[in-house]
């Protein structure tokens, strides 16, 4: 298997810089998700790895081979796109084995590979069916299976779930996760959907304006964002940000009207400009508590698993808190909040975590 090394990779389209001087290594035999909003450069970066687009500057290596000028078909990669590529008028089995027929493989080997991938993707029962009879989600599984059965060293996925209907999405996620757990290949997966990224990735490379701003495990990137952008992009809702006027710094100590403790930040205190706290990082009590900061409930909604999201007004500052169903249901008027120090991330003026 290959790792993928990008050195100084830049792509410009006339005046627009889609990918800006990326130096990054995608480790072999793992799942790396390129995540970011539309226009962040994730698809362009993937297309350069595939050889469908050549970099304006920089080099791309698969292990130690410089592949920058190698055409796509000679890069030994598999690709899955947004819309399933299937061969109509044939069976599922035929779809899966077609690329294998041009390779010098024994009949038994071909059958073994097809059966194996069909089993992982839960396609065994439909192998004899015509592809036209199957829904879009199943067709996408076939497209995935075909690329996997070829056993290339790298497989690239470009938003493979985005256009699949809601009910099939879950099944596709399940089978992809299962598949990725069994594969030894290097997987690069592009999406704008954070849930998909957090569910499937070993590591997430978060992109913004043509650069990778943070790459970490899903847990790290959610719990320890290195930038305001990462704090906002991950999470539903994203992090609450508290502006400078709600922060006072005195020597090494930082305090804020939103929490009663004083935080000793050492010499970094002077750089503290804003801080972020996740919705679940705000503890809410219905009755007055020691150190509890009063906030007014302005709106309520329900989120995943029946938890409530409360819109809280601390004077002019609005923030969202995630609370249990019971507390959320009962909350109205004033509530009392605390924020534990470990739930607070400080950022400097540039939006970088300190």
């Amino acid at each position: 298997m290959y790792d993928i090394r990008l050195t100084g990779v830049t792509k410009r389209f006339e005046a627009f810089t889609a990918v800006n001087d990326i130096n990054f290594t995608i480790p072999k035999s793992s799942v790396t998700v390129l995540l970011g909003p539309s226009g962040c450069g994730k698809t362009t970066l993937m297309r350069m790895i595939a050889g469908l687009e050549s970099p304006t500057e920089g080099r791309i290596f698969f292990d130690d081979h410089d592949v920058t000028d190698v055409p796509t078909r000679r890069r030994n990669i598999g690709m899955v796109f947004q819309y399933p590529v299937i061969y109509r008028g044939t069976s599922v089995r035929r779809n899966l084995e077609l690329p294998l027929l041009s390779e010098k493989l024994s009949k038994a080997e071909i059958e073994k590979r097809v059966d194996e991938v069909a089993e992982i993707l839960d396609l065994t029962s439909v192998l004899k069916r015509q592809v036209e009879e199957l829904d879009n989600g199943t067709r996408q599984k076939i497209a995935v299976g075909r690329e996997v059965a070829r056993q290339p060293k790298i497989i690239l996925f470009d938003e493979p779930i985005t256009n699949i209907d809601l009910t099939s999405k879950l099944e596709l996620k399940r089978s992809m996760k299962e598949l990725f757990g069994r594969l030894q290949q290097t997987i690069v997966y592009v999406t704008h959907d954070q849930t998909e990224a957090m569910t499937l990735a070993d590591q997430i490379a978060l992109m913004q304006d043509g650069v990778i701003t943070q790459s970490d495990s899903p847990k790290e990137i959610y719990e320890k964002p290195t930038s305001q952008f990462a704090g906002w992009f991950l999470g539903n809702p994203g992090m609450n940000f508290v502006p400078p006027e709600f922060i006072s710094v005195s020597g090494n100590k930082v305090s804020s009207p939103l929490f009663s403790q004083v935080i000793d930040m050492g010499t970094r205190a002077k750089d503290a400009d804003t801080y972020g706290v996740r919705a679940e990082g705000i503890q809410v009590s219905l009755t007055e508590t020691k150190g509890g900061v009063p906030a007014k409930v302005t709106r309520k909604s329900i989120g995943a698993g029946g938890q409530y999201l409360l819109d809280l007004a601390f004077g002019s500052l609005l923030a969202k808190a995630r609370v249990s169903h019971e507390i959320g249901k009962a909350a109205s008027g004033m509530v009392y909040t605390t924020i534990a120090s470990e739930n607070i991330t400080f950022f400097d003026k540039s939006g970088t975590a300190i």
Partner: protein, 361 residues
């Protein structure tokens, strides 16, 4: 004037033999954010088209602020409309696009200017007013389309799934902005969606659309906690509720996750137990059943954990800080059980709610 912005009574619409809207009724309060939520294929599009007057009706009343408009032409109904897919005029600026409905209504210059500014401000597109649609991103275009739908003052606004197809983060922002817009403008929204999480995020009042009827209408938390039917429980909530078939015998139901005592005064043989994800708990106890973990979906603050027991798919939600449950989930199988009080009991035949769970046997 009526307390209802929109009152729909006995609305029926068939195409040939197929009854799409079946004696459908609901009321939308003035200044409320009402969300009509239903799975695709339940008549949502036809309902929108009949309300807007783009489709004739077989029978029923459509009452806008006390006045039946069922026979009025679309332009005379005084209903604002934000369509699902929109076409902005490419040769007009954003300002002109938003203003257009007011121009058609022959509004005075100052009214036009003020209205455009107000909605543009609320939807955060004020700095785009001079641009042409082709210079906008997808999310910005959607904001402009929503602004155009809201520019003209009307008795009620129908929003037809306007966030469908937008990026996750764009939707998150627009959800907040739409709620704020409705509150600040003090207008009445009837918002259609098939996305249960969107309905939960937006609604004050929610109406469940199933098989051409509104099967339940109430405040959001009431519908969530006390769904009146299986369709109602299925249509709202994320992840989707667990639905288990069961047999009722002497006040006890038998399910694949064990037996539960229930409270009901009905006695159908076949029943269905509806259990929200948070009603399933991980951990071994006297009533737990071993289940195979099929997927852990990482939602950030929590995981949606999917299981398979005897070919039935189940789901629960585990907080990212619940280290005990998460360490158990390292294994391929895990013990799960039902919180009895989380069970909502339905008659399998009619789909209606007939009782609730009380305790383990």
């Amino acid at each position: 004037m009526s307390q209802f912005a929109l009152e729909v009574k006995g609305l029926t619409k068939s195409f040939g033999d197929k009854v799409v809207l079946d004696n459908l009724s609901f009321t939308a309060n003035v200044n409320d954010f009402s969300v009509i939520c239903g799975k695709p294929g339940n008549g949502k599009s036809v309902l929108v088209r009949t309300i807007m007057g783009l489709e004739t009706i077989d029978s029923g009343q459509l009452i806008v602020r006390g006045k039946d408009v069922a026979n009025a032409s679309p332009g005379d109904r005084n209903i604002g409309y934000v369509p699902q897919s929109f076409a902005l005029y490419p040769h007009y600026s954003v300002q002109e696009n938003i203003e257009y409905p007011l121009v058609l209504a022959k509004a005075a210059d100052n009214v036009r200017k003020e209205s455009v500014e107000r909605v543009a401000e609320l939807l955060r597109i004020k700095d785009l007013l001079g641009k042409k649609p082709e210079q906008l991103s997808g999310g910005q275009k959607q904001r402009v389309a929503i602004a155009r739908g809201l520019a003209k003052a009307t008795d009620v606004y129908v929003l037809d799934d306007p966030l469908v197809g937008l990026d996750f983060k764009l939707r998150e922002r627009l959800i907040d902005d739409l709620r704020k817009t409705q509150e600040e403008l003090k207008v009445s929204f009837v918002y259609m969606t098939s996305d249960p999480l969107e309905a939960l995020s937006l609604a004050k009042t929610v109406m469940i659309l199933a098989e051409g009827q509104i099967v339940q209408q109430d405040l959001l938390d009431v519908v969530y906690d006390k769904p009146s039917s299986i369709a109602s429980m299925n249509s709202i909530g994320f992840p989707e509720a667990n639905i288990l078939t069961a047999e009722l015998d002497a006040g006890t139901i038998k399910t694949i996750l064990g037996s539960i005592k229930v409270k009901t005064d009905k006695n159908p043989q076949k029943v269905v137990a509806g259990i929200r994800p948070e009603g399933l708990v991980i951990g071994k106890n006297a009533n737990s059943v071993n289940a195979k973990v099929s997927l852990m979906e990482n939602l950030g603050s929590e995981f949606a954990v999917y299981f398979n027991v005897n070919n039935t798919n189940l789901v629960t939600v585990v907080s990212r800080t619940d280290t005990e449950a998460l360490s158990k989930l390292q294994a391929k199988t895990v013990d799960i059980s039902i919180k009895p009080e989380a069970v909502v009991l339905f008659d399998a035949q009619t789909g209606n709610r007939i009782g609730e769970g009380v305790s383990h046997v």
